[in-house]
C-alpha cells in the first residue's frame, strides 16, 4: 500500500503544532465566512490569500483548505436557523432544516447537518487518498453531452417533489429558467434580455435571489405573524449531540447513497449544488413517509449535507490532478497554488509529494478538528433563536444586505435582494413552491450551455445523448426518475382494471 505510506508521511507533515494551530484558525474563519451569506468560501479565500504568501507553502494550503471546510460547515447554520442559505449548496438543507428549527429542534438539525457534512467529507477524502489517479481519468470522460445528462438527472430526480399543483411548479420553474437566461449567452456571445441596463449584464446571481426569496421573504412572513420567532421555545440541551447521533444511525442508507452521489458529482464538474438537490430528491424517493419531507424530517437534512460535502471535498481532486477547479473556491485555491509556484496537474503528485500528501492528511485532520469545533458550538448557535425577533430581525436584514453586496460589490444587488424578498413573500402567500425556481436558476444556465454545446458537436442530432454507454446510461436513468412518480398510479390503474 504505497498510498498508506504516503499518507503517513503526509500526517507527519501536517501534524506539527503550528499546522494544527493554522487548522483551528482556518476552520474558525471559515465558519464565520460560511455564516455570512454571500461572502462564501471563494471570496473569503480570495481575501485571505495574500496573507499566506509569506507563510510556508504547506501551512498556507492547510489553512486555506481549512477555511474551505469551515465555510462548508458554516453554510448550514443560517440555512437551519433563519432559512437563509449561506451557500448555494445549503438551499436543500433549508427545506427540512428550517422547519425543524421552528419546531424547536434546531440543535438536532445542526448536529445532523454537521455530522453529515463530516461523514460526506470523510468518505470523499478516502476516495481522494486511494483512487485519485483512477477517478481523475473518469472525470475526463465528461464532455458536453455527459454534462447535460447529469443536469437532466438532477432535474428529473427532483420532479414530483412538490405538494403543490404541477402547474404552479412549472410556472416558477419557467420563471427560474427565464431569470437564468438574463445576461451574456456564452454560446452565441450576445446579450440577452438586458434591455440596455448595465446592471443586468451580469445576469441574476443565484445567491442574491436566494437571500431575498428565502431570507427576506421569511422575515416578512414572520413580521406579519406578529414578530414571533417560532423557534423561541427551543430548549437548549447539552446532550442534544449524543441524542441526535443515536437517531442518525438509522439513516445509514441515506448517508451512503448521498456520499456516492456527492463524490460522483464533485469529481465530474457537476458540483456540490446539484449534488445536494439530487441527494435530497433521492432520499425523499427512497423514504417510506414521503409527506414528512419539507416538514422537518431529519433525513432531509442528512441527505443534502452529506452530498454537498462529499462533492465539495472531491471537487478538489480534479483541481489537484487535472488543474480544473470543480468549484469557484477550488478556482481561487488554484490561483494560490500558482502563486506558490506549484503547477496543479498530472505531475503534482510526483513532483511535490510533501505538499500533496500534507494537504490530503490535513483534509482528514481538518475535518475532525472542524467537527469538534462546530459540535461544541451547537448550543450557542441554537441559543440565537432565543433572542427576541425585534432584535435579531434587523440584524438578519443587515447581514443579508451585506451578503448581497459582497457577491459583486454592487448596491444594485441589494435592491434586487429586496425585490426578490417581496416576491418570496408573495409566492409563499400564494403557495407557489420556491425550490423549483431556485433549482432552475442554479442549473438552468449550465444545462442550457451543455445542451447547446452538445447540439453543436452533433450538428443538431439528439442521438448524441445515446452515443456511448456512459451518456446513454445517465439519460436512461433520468427517464426512469422522471417516470417514477407515475408508477404507483399506473399500478393502481392496472389493479383496478383487473
Amino acid at each position: 500500500m504505497e498510498e498508506l505510506n504516503n499518507l503517513m508521511h503526509g500526517f507527519s507533515v501536517a501534524m506539527t503544532l503550528p499546522n494544527l494551530g493554522f487548522m483551528v484558525l482556518g476552520i474558525t474563519l471559515g465558519i464565520l465566512i460560511g455564516v455570512l451569506p454571500g461572502l462564501g468560501g471563494a471570496n473569503g479565500i480570495a481575501i485571505l490569500l495574500p496573507l499566506t504568501f509569506s507563510m510556508d507553502q504547506t501551512s498556507a494550503i492547510i489553512m486555506l483548505s481549512c477555511i474551505y471546510w469551515g465555510a462548508l460547515f458554516g453554510g448550514a447554520i443560517t440555512s437551519i436557523l433563519f432559512n437563509i442559505p449561506g451557500e448555494p449548496w445549503s438551499v436543500a438543507t433549508t427545506f427540512d432544516g428550517y422547519p425543524m428549527a421552528q419546531q424547536g429542534r434546531a440543535g438536532a438539525a445542526l448536529t445532523a447537518a454537521f455530522t453529515s457534512s463530516f461523514v460526506g467529507a470523510f468518505f470523499a477524502v478516502l476516495l481522494i487518498t486511494f483512487l485519485a489517479p483512477m477517478v481523475a481519468r473518469f472525470a475526463l470522460k465528461f464532455g458536453a453531452a455527459e454534462m447535460f445528462a447529469v443536469q437532466m438527472l438532477t432535474f428529473c430526480s427532483f420532479v414530483g417533489m412538490s405538494k403543490e399543483p404541477p402547474a404552479k411548479t412549472l410556472a416558477v420553474m419557467a420563471l427560474g429558467f427565464a431569470l437564468a437566461a438574463v445576461g451574456m449567452d456564452t454560446v452565441t456571445g450576445t446579450l440577452r434580455m438586458t434591455y440596455g441596463v448595465t446592471e443586468l449584464l451580469k445576469g441574476f446571481d443565484f445567491l442574491i435571489a436566494v437571500i431575498g426569496l428565502f431570507g427576506i421573504g421569511e422575515i416578512l412572513l414572520t413580521m406579519e405573524e406578529g414578530l414571533a420567532f417560532k423557534g423561541k421555545s427551543a430548549k437548549i440541551q447539552l446532550d442534544v449531540v449524543l441524542k441526535t447521533w443515536a437517531e442518525l444511525l438509522r439513516y445509514w442508507k441515506t448517508s451512503i447513497r448521498s456520499v456516492l452521489v456527492g463524490c460522483w458529482m464533485g469529481v465530474t464538474p457537476g458540483g456540490a449544488t446539484p449534488a445536494s438537490f439530487m441527494a435530497y430528491g433521492l432520499a425523499r424517493r427512497g423514504a417510506k413517509d414521503k409527506d414528512s419531507f419539507g416538514k422537518g424530517n431529519i433525513e432531509g437534512v442528512v441527505a443534502p449535507e452529506t452530498a454537498a460535502h462529499a462533492a465539495g471535498t472531491s471537487a478538489l481532486l480534479p483541481m489537484l490532478t487535472l488543474g480544473i477547479p470543480g468549484s469557484p473556491t477550488a478556482a481561487v485555491l488554484l490561483g494560490g497554488l500558482l502563486i506558490w509556484g506549484l503547477q496543479p496537474g498530472p505531475l503534482l503528485f510526483t513532483e511535490k509529494p510533501d505538499f500533496v500528501w500534507g494537504l490530503i492528511a490535513s483534509m482528514y485532520l481538518g475535518n475532525i478538528v472542524g467537527l469538534i469545533v462546530v459540535l461544541t458550538t451547537v448550543p450557542w448557535w441554537a441559543a440565537i433563536l432565543r433572542i427576541p425577533f425585534s432584535v435579531i430581525g434587523p440584524v438578519i436584514i443587515v447581514i443579508c444586505a451585506i451578503g448581497a453586496y459582497t457577491v459583486h460589490s454592487s448596491i444594485f444587488d441589494v435592491v434586487m435582494m429586496l425585490v426578490f424578498g417581496v416576491f418570496g413573500y408573495l409566492f409563499k402567500k400564494l403557495r407557489y413552491p420556491l425550490a423549483p425556481l431556485v433549482l432552475a436558476l442554479v442549473l438552468g444556465d449550465m444545462a442550457e450551455s451543455s445542451f447547446r454545446q452538445s447540439m453543436l458537436l452533433s450538428q443538431g442530432s439528439l442521438s448524441i445523448f445515446w452515443a456511448n454507454p456512459l451518456v446513454g446510461g445517465l439519460m436512461a436513468l433520468s427517464f426512469v426518475m422522471l417516470l417514477w412518480p407515475i408508477v404507483p398510479a399506473l399500478k393502481h390503474y392496472l389493479r383496478s382494471r383487473a
Binding site: 458536453a144 451574456m184 456564452t186 450576445t190 446579450l191 451580469k202 450551455s449 454545446q453 453543436l456
Partner: protein
C-alpha cells in the same frame, strides 16, 4: 523596561522616517485600498495574472495600501469595463485587460471603447498555441491542416473560451486558411477548454501556454505551432525532448496566422498623469521581481513592456486589427 524603551525608540524613528519620506517624495500614492478589476471569471488567465500581481505586491511590499482583486465578468467583461468608465477621476480602481477590451464592444454593441479609459501599461503579451491530443496522429501543423483540407467541412471540432472572442477569431482565421469550416464549441474558461481536449471530446484548441502547460508536461497534449512571427525564446525543456522554443511558428507550417493577446493595465478616465506614473512605476517594479520572471517563463509570455503614447498607439492599431478580423468573420454587432 529596557525592552519597552527600545521599542518606543524604534517606533519613534520609523514614524519620523515615514513623515520624512512622504515629505520628501511628494509623488502621488494611493490613500486607500486599490481595487484591481478583472473583467473575467476566477481561474482564467487574466485572473491568475491579477492574483499573482496582488501576491507579488503584498509579498514585496511594493505599495502601502493593499491591492484587492475583484472579478467583474458579467457580459463578457463589459461589467468591469463599464465600471471603470463610470469611475471618472477615481485613481483607486485599475483594470487588467484581455482581448475582450476590443471584442466585447464590437460583438455586443455595449457602449464602451478603450478610449473611454486611461491607458496605463502593457505588462506582457500572451501567446496562442495550436494544440492537439497527444494520441492524435498529427506530428506537425502541416499534417493537421492537410487533413482538415482533405476532409469535408465540419468534421473537425475546435474548443475555445467564449463566443466571438479571441479563440473563435483565431478559429475563423484557420477556417479561412484551410477553406473548410470547423465546428467551434465555446466554453466558459481556458482550463475547461484544455480538459475537453485531454478528454478527446474535440480535435484541437488554441489555448494560451499557461492553460495547457501542465497537460503538455504530463504527455497528454501536443503543441503544433505558435501564432506569432517568431518562435518563443524559453529554451528550458518542458517535456523530455521539447522546450517552448522548439514549437515552430504557424506561418512556417503554412498557416499564416499571427495573434497575440494584450495583458495590460488601464485606469479610470480623468486621472492625473502623476497617478498614471505611480502605477506604471509600480508595474515596472513588479516586473523586476524574480517571481514575475518565473511566472513569465511558466506561461511562456512575450515580455514586451510599453506605456504612454507608445502603448496607446499599439492599442489603437490592435483595435483596428480586431475590427477587420471580426468584420471578416461576421462577428460584429448588428
Amino acid at each position: 523596561m529596557i525592552e519597552f524603551k527600545n521599542w518606543a525608540a524604534r517606533a519613534l524613528v520609523s514614524a519620523v522616517a515615514a513623515i520624512g519620506l512622504t515629505g520628501a517624495a511628494h509623488a502621488w500614492e494611493p490613500t486607500k485600498p486599490v481595487e484591481f478589476v478583472v473583467p473575467a471569471g476566477t481561474g482564467g488567465g487574466a485572473d491568475q495574472m491579477a492574483r499573482f500581481i496582488q501576491g507579488i505586491v503584498a509579498k514585496n511590499k511594493l505599495m502601502e495600501q493593499p491591492l484587492v482583486v475583484v472579478n467583474k465578468s458579467g457580459g463578457a467583461g463589459a461589467e468591469g469595463f463599464l465600471e471603470l468608465k463610470g469611475a471618472k477621476g477615481n485613481p483607486h480602481k485599475i483594470i487588467i485587460t484581455l482581448s475582450n477590451l476590443f471584442t466585447t464592444p464590437l460583438a455586443t454593441g455595449v457602449p464602451f471603447n478603450w478610449r473611454d479609459l486611461t491607458p496605463g501599461a502593457m505588462l506582457a503579451l500572451d501567446q496562442f498555441v495550436l494544440w492537439v491530443n497527444a494520441d492524435a496522429p498529427y506530428k506537425t501543423a502541416k499534417e493537421y491542416i492537410d487533413d482538415i483540407k482533405a476532409k469535408p467541412a465540419s468534421t473537425f471540432k475546435m474548443a475555445g473560451t467564449g463566443s466571438k472572442q479571441e479563440d473563435q477569431i483565431i478559429t475563423a482565421m484557420i477556417d479561412k486558411a484551410t477553406g473548410k469550416k470547423m465546428i467551434y464549441m465555446p466554453f466558459k474558461g481556458g482550463g475547461d477548454v484544455a480538459v475537453q481536449l485531454v478528454g478527446g471530446h474535440v480535435n484541437s484548441t488554441v489555448n494560451n501556454p499557461i492553460e495547457a502547460e501542465a497537460h503538455w508536461r504530463g504527455g497528454k497534449l501536443r503543441p503544433l505551432c505558435i501564432m506569432d512571427t517568431e518562435k518563443l525564446t524559453y529554451t528550458e525543456k518542458v517535456t523530455d525532448t521539447q522546450s517552448w522554443a522548439d514549437i515552430p511558428t504557424c506561418k512556417s507550417a503554412g498557416v499564416p496566422i499571427e495573434y497575440l493577446m494584450l495583458r495590460g493595465i488601464f485606469l479610470a478616465p480623468g486621472v492625473t498623469q502623476e497617478q498614471v506614473d505611480f502605477y506604471v512605476n509600480l508595474f515596472k517594479k513588479v516586473r523586476e521581481t524574480p517571481e514575475w520572471a518565473d511566472f513569465m517563463k511558466k506561461g511562456a509570455f512575450k515580455q514586451t513592456f510599453m506605456s504612454g503614447k507608445e502603448f496607446a498607439d499599439w492599442v489603437g492599431k490592435t483595435e483596428a486589427m480586431h475590427y477587420g478580423l471580426m468584420k471578416d468573420a461576421g462577428f460584429l454587432a448588428k
